[in-house]
Every structure is written in C-alpha cells, then in structure tokens.
C-alpha cells in the first residue's frame, strides 16, 4: 500500500476510473501533458492518451458546457476548473443544465459529470485563487457538492462522485493537497456520498466542519482533550445533500455545537446546519450554536489570508463561549 498525499490520491482515483470505465474522460485547462497546475492529473495523458485526458482551450464556460453535452450522450466527463475563483462562468451550465437535465426531461437525459476544483486559501496565491464558494453550488437543486479532507477520502469520494449517475461538484481543499500522507490502497473501492464522517468521538461538544478546516478543527479538539474536554469532530464531506441526521445525533449526545468553515458567513453552509439544528435539535442544545467562519469581507491577498481564515484559537474561543453556558 502506498503512502500518498491527497493530490496523489486524486490522481490515483482518476487513473482507476480511466482504466476501468471507458466512458470516463478528464478535461480541463493544462490537465494534459502538463498534468494540471497542482499535478492532480500528472502522468494521465501520457498513460491514457489525449483522447481520454483532454486539454481544452482556455474557456471555462466551454469546459462546463462540453461536459454537460458529453454527459447527456453517455460519457462520464470529469472536468477541472483550474481554481475555484474561475468556476463562476461554469455556474450557468451547472445550474441551468447539469442540475436539471434529468428533471426537465423526466429522466430521458441525465448528466453524470464531475466538476473538480481546487478551493480555499492558505497557499499564498494571487487574487481570485483562494475563495471558498461551495455554498453557491449547495444552493443548486440536482447537484451534489462533495469535499474530501484526507487522502483516503479524496480517493474513495472521488471514485463515488465519478460513478454517481448525477452531477457532482468535487471541491479539493488545496491547502492540504500535500499536507499529510496516508496509506491508501488503490483498490477501486469508493466511499459513500451523502453522509458525514465522524472523525473523532466526543461527549462534551460537537465540532462540525469540512475541507481544509478539518485540520484546525482536529487540532482544536486535541487541545481541548488536553484540558479534559471531549469534542466530537464531524467532517460533513457531502455538503449537499446534507446529512443532518449524523449532526443531530451527535448534538443529542453533546448538547453543544460549533460549526467551522472557511467561506464567508452570510448564507454559508454553516447557516443551513445551524438552521437544521434549530429545527430538529433545539431541545438537545444547552448553548447557542456558534459559527467560526471567514468574515463577510473579500478574501484578502495573501499577507492577511491566515488572519481571515478560522484559526485554532478562534475555534477555541467559540468553544469557550458555548461551554460557558450551563
């Protein structure tokens, strides 16, 4: 079994599906001979040829529209948006077509495509390269939004996303692309979509997060453990459709919840989770639900980006607040 970083796990999953399903194609800007700007498609064009791993002209709308067209005709395109900041021209095709193709045709056509994009801050990138706009896609009916937070989940969830008969936006937290290596068996086994993953069991409070923020959240849980506080950590993994049951079940046990995400607070997925708790978990809560998020301001250029993003300390501050209430 190989020890791989998350970005390598992405490559492994793409290679597995290219090898085992001839309807799968990878397409995007620089995904071919260059292997992608983050190396997520490294070696794939050399191995599978330029008709399976397709460099596109520099046009994001084109990548999304071609993928919709191919997907309706029996292909399984796995498209790459080079950075999430450049995904916005693709929103039209995802919202107006990918998410409604099956519905509008009463199942006559479907759209089994994956749109992959590296997202989030923390790598000292230029303007427009660091945003977390996952909520835009979570607001689209008919689209799954999946976010891995480790090499093994990147491998298993990406396989599941490609195999899913409906469109999936697969967002890869690039700050942790190469952070840790993990043993990942390249056996083609996928992981379930539409469910949260409980990464750490706890009894005193629930920390809910996804993507790169899993790192800070687990570190916060570790620091809390040193103080004798037992925090349960949930990686949401599929933010739409949302598995509220796992979160509510946890809060029934702990009575306290802090939600952590990099994206702006306003209409972020944290708001949906908090609303879900208010709706179905209120009587189990001992304290208000708190959110630790990016601010409702523009993602700053890189000198200030780590100040913008939730830190372990900000998470601990929020935890202090919810633990104060008895």
């Amino acid at each position: 079994m190989a020890r791989v970083a998350m970005v390598e796990a992405v490559t492994m999953a793409l290679a597995w599906e290219l090898e085992h399903d001839e309807s799968v194609v990878v397409l995007g800007e620089d995904v071919g001979i260059n292997g992608g700007v983050f190396r997520a498609t490294a070696g794939l064009a050399q191995r599978f040829g330029d008709e399976r791993v397709i460099d596109t002209p520099l046009a994001e709308t084109m990548i999304a529209g071609l993928s919709v067209g191919m997907a309706t005709q029996g292909m399984k395109p796995v498209a790459e948006a080079q950075f999430m900041g450049f995904i916005l021209p693709m929103v039209d095709h995802m919202m107006c077509h990918a998410g409604r193709m099956r519905h509008r045709t009463r199942g006559r056509l479907s759209c089994p495509m994956v749109l992959r994009a590296p997202f989030g801050g923390g790598i000292h990138a230029p303007e427009h390269h660091s945003e977390s706009t996952e909520a835009i896609f979570a607001h689209m009916p008919g689209i799954r939004v999946v976010i891995p937070s480790s090499p093994s989940r990147a491998y298993g969830l990406l396989l599941a996303a490609i195999r899913d008969p409906d469109p999936v936006v697969f967002l890869e937290p690039k700050r942790i692309y190469r952070l840790n290596k993990e043993e990942v068996e390249d056996n083609g086994e996928d992981l379930p979509l539409d469910v949260c993953y409980v990464l750490r069991d706890g009894t005193d409070l629930t920390l809910v997060t996804w993507g790169a923020m899993v790192k800070e959240t687990l570190e916060a849980a570790e620091k809390l453990a040193e103080k004798g506080i037992s925090a349960e950590v949930i990686d949401v993994a599929t933010i739409s459709p949302l598995d509220m049951d796992t979160i509510i079940e946890s809060v029934e046990k702990t009575g306290r919840c802090v939600i952590v995400h990099e994206a702006v607070r306003m209409c972020g997925v944290g708001a949906e989770i908090a609303a879900g708790l208010a709706d179905a978990g209120l009587y189990h809560l001992y304290a208000p639900v708190k959110r630790v998020t990016g601010y409702d301001s523009v993602m700053p250029l890189y000198k200030m980006e780590m100040k913008y993003m939730p830190s372990v300390q900000r998470i601990l501050n929020a935890v202090d607040e919810v633990l104060e209430v008895s």
């Binding site: 194609v25 008709e51 596109t56 002209p57 046009a59 709308t61 084109m62 999304a64 529209g65 071609l66 993928s67 919709v68 067209g69 191919m70 997907a71 309706t72 005709q73 029996g74 292909m75 395109p77 021209p89 039209d92 095709h93 107006c96 077509h97 193709m101 099956r102 519905h103 509008r104 045709t105 009463r106 199942g107 006559r108 056509l109 479907s110 009916p141 008919g142 899913d164 008969p165 409906d166 539409d194 459709p241 949302l242 598995d243 509220m244 049951d245």
Partner: protein, 357 residues
C-alpha cells in the same frame, strides 16, 4: 507594406427568388425532386397551422407564454429533413418544424409551453436535447455531444441553432472554438431573424455577416437565404456530410425574418416599423415554394385545400391530446431530481404529498 496573412470571404447562396423562380443554372438536385419538395412544403404548412393555433391557445388562456416560429419554417425543414435519426439536435426554443421532422409531436410542444415538463420527454430521438432557454448554451451541448461521438468513433452529427442575438454570446463563440480545436462533427446554424426581442441585428455588431464569426474560429462559414428551403437544405446536406466524414464543423447563417412577436408576451409594434414587417411578408418561405411548385405543375388548389384540411385536423387532434393531459403528478417535482432520491429530499416529498395532495 504589411503582408496579408489571412483574408476571407462569405458566400451567399440563394436558388429560389421571393416570387418562386429558380435563379441561376446551378440549382441542387432538390430543385427537381418534387416529391421531397412537396413533403417539405406540407411540413412547413403544418408547422404554420400549428403555430397559429398555439398563439390562439395562448390568447384564450389555454397555453402559457409561447414563442412563435412564424417565418422560420424553411430554416426548420432544412435542418430537420437533413438530419438522421441517430444525429443529435440541440435546439433553442422555437425550432418546432425541425423537431416535427424528427418525430416530436405537436401535443408535446404544447405540453412544454403549457407548463409541463412531460413535453420534454418527447417522441423524437431520445438523445435529442430539450428546448433550451438560456441563450446559446445549447451550442456547447451540441459541441459536447459531437465530442462524445467523435471519441467513440460514431458517425453521428450534432446540429444546433442560435439566433442573431445569441451569436453575441460567449457560449456560441466558445462552442465554435471547441469545434475547431477538436474538429468536431457539429453544424452551427445562426438563424438570423433580424430581431433579438426588440434589439435589431444592426445593434449586435457592425460586422457585415454573422457567419464570419465562424471564420474567426477557423470554420468554413457561409450565408444562405433562410427563406429558400432549396438553398438552406443544400447547405445543411453539405455541412452534415462534411461533419459525418470527419471534415469538421460548418457555420451556416440563414437569413430569415421573425414575422411574429418574440413571444406572446411581447408586442413588436412597440419597436418595429410595420413597413418592415410588410416587406418581410413578401419574402417569406411558404409563398415562394408554393409558387415554384405551382409553376412547375407540381401543386394546385385541390392539393392545397387537402393539405390545409389535413393540417387543421392534425393540429386539432394535438390540441385535444394536450388539453386532456391534465397536470403531472405532484411527486414528479421530486422523482426526477436524482437517480436515487436523497434522504432529505425524500422527506420533503413525503411532506409535500401530505400537505398538497
């Protein structure tokens, strides 16, 4: 002196004059294939009778907003009759004539504009795209379909239509770029009907033709008289044959005129001089084909009357079928969202059935 490294010309094709005379001596074989011309004329008449009825249904509250295709019939027949079943059509939202050629039923068009998704699950080829409202997005879907066929080595062609307004959209330009880069089996038709709701062709840009946008992408591009079914069908045949043989995409600008309002929610008299519309009626596609066939001794009043009666009966039958369709079942709001309904949406479905049934 700079050296000229690229230059271009756009050829314009027309064989049938507005009064139905054959022009020049290079008419394609279709000009003397009277059986096929009568078939196309019959489909054009049926499309027009259908269109008139659909507008009437909207005016009497029996249909939602409807986009009329009045004046576009020759464009539609050229497209629909040139395609094979296995080819893929990616229409915008008013190419009913082309779709009738492909087996879509009149009642299904009415269902769609009558607010019912079941119209999109039509009797035409199952791989054809549904009506596409976001302007020009269908061009990329056609290019994507063509890419799928090319990658699989299938000899199938995708055909799409965009308007003069839609030709200003990035999606159209990006689709032509993709077709050029990958040499895709796709045909782009610019149905230039002179008006994008209230904005005239002259306000889209000052280029002499819209076809020349295809030249910029490296594609063979021509202009035809879109009211001349002989010229338009010839152009389609050539473009489809080239695409099927691996020769790549073509752009065909078909010049026609939107004789109707944009939709039934529009009033073109607010922005369009009536003289212009009167003048356009002199060039419309049905009159010239009928005049030509009559002149050739291939059409007469008795045939015309029989055709009108047949068209009216077919449309009446379609209207009856449409009106009898009722509402789709409540659960259909949920049941086609995903292959398998996610847990939370299943709960919403259950609650909706409980509250709304």
């Amino acid at each position: 002196m700079p050296a000229t490294i690229a230059s271009f010309k756009i050829d314009y094709y027309q064989h049938l004059s507005p009064d139905g005379r054959l022009m020049g001596d290079d008419a394609p074989a279709l000009a003397t294939d009277f059986e096929e011309l009568r078939r196309l004329y019959a489909l054009m008449v049926k499309t027009r009778v259908f269109d008139k009825k659909a507008v009437a249904l909207q005016r009497t509250g029996k249909l939602g907003t409807y986009a009329s295709c009045l004046g576009h019939e020759a464009v539609h027949m050229a497209i629909g009759s040139a395609m094979r079943e296995e080819d893929c059509f990616a229409p915008m939202y008013r190419e009913y004539g082309a779709q009738f050629c492909r087996g879509v039923k009149m009642s299904e068009v009415l269902l769609y504009w009558g607010g019912d998704e079941r119209g999109n699950n039509f009797s035409g080829p199952k791989h054809d795209f549904a009506w596409c409202v976001p302007i020009a997005t269908q061009c990329l879907h056609a290019a994507g379909a063509a890419l799928a066929y090319k990658l699989r080595g299938e000899k199938r062609v995708a055909v799409t239509v965009v308007g003069d307004g839609g030709s200003s959209k990035g999606d159209f330009l990006e689709a032509m770029n993709a077709a050029s880069a990958y040499k895709l089996p796709v045909v782009f038709i610019i149905c230039n009907n002179q008006w994008a709701i209230s904005v005239p062709r002259s306000k889209q840009n000052t280029a002499k033709t819209l076809a020349q946008k295809g030249v910029a992408a490296g594609l063979p591009s021509i202009q035809v008289d879109g009211n001349d079914v002989i010229a338009a069908r010839w152009a389609m045949d050539e473009a489809i044959a080239q695409a099927r043989d691996g020769g790549g995409a073509t752009v065909i600008e078909m010049i026609t005129y939107r004789l109707s309002d944009h939709t039934t929610a529009d009033d073109a008299t607010r922005y369009r001089p009536s003289e212009e519309v009167d003048d356009a009626w002199k060039r419309e596609p049905l009159v010239r084909l009928k005049a030509y066939l009559t002149e050739q001794g291939e059409w007469d009043d008795a045939r015309e009357q029989a055709l009108q009666d047949e068209a009216t009966a077919a449309v009446d039958e379609a209207v009856e079928e449409y009106l009898a369709a009722g509402k789709p079942p409540l659960e259909s709001m949920f049941d086609y969202m995903y292959d398998e309904l996610p847990h939370d949406l299943a709960a919403q479905r259950e609650k909706a059935l409980e509250e709304l049934s």
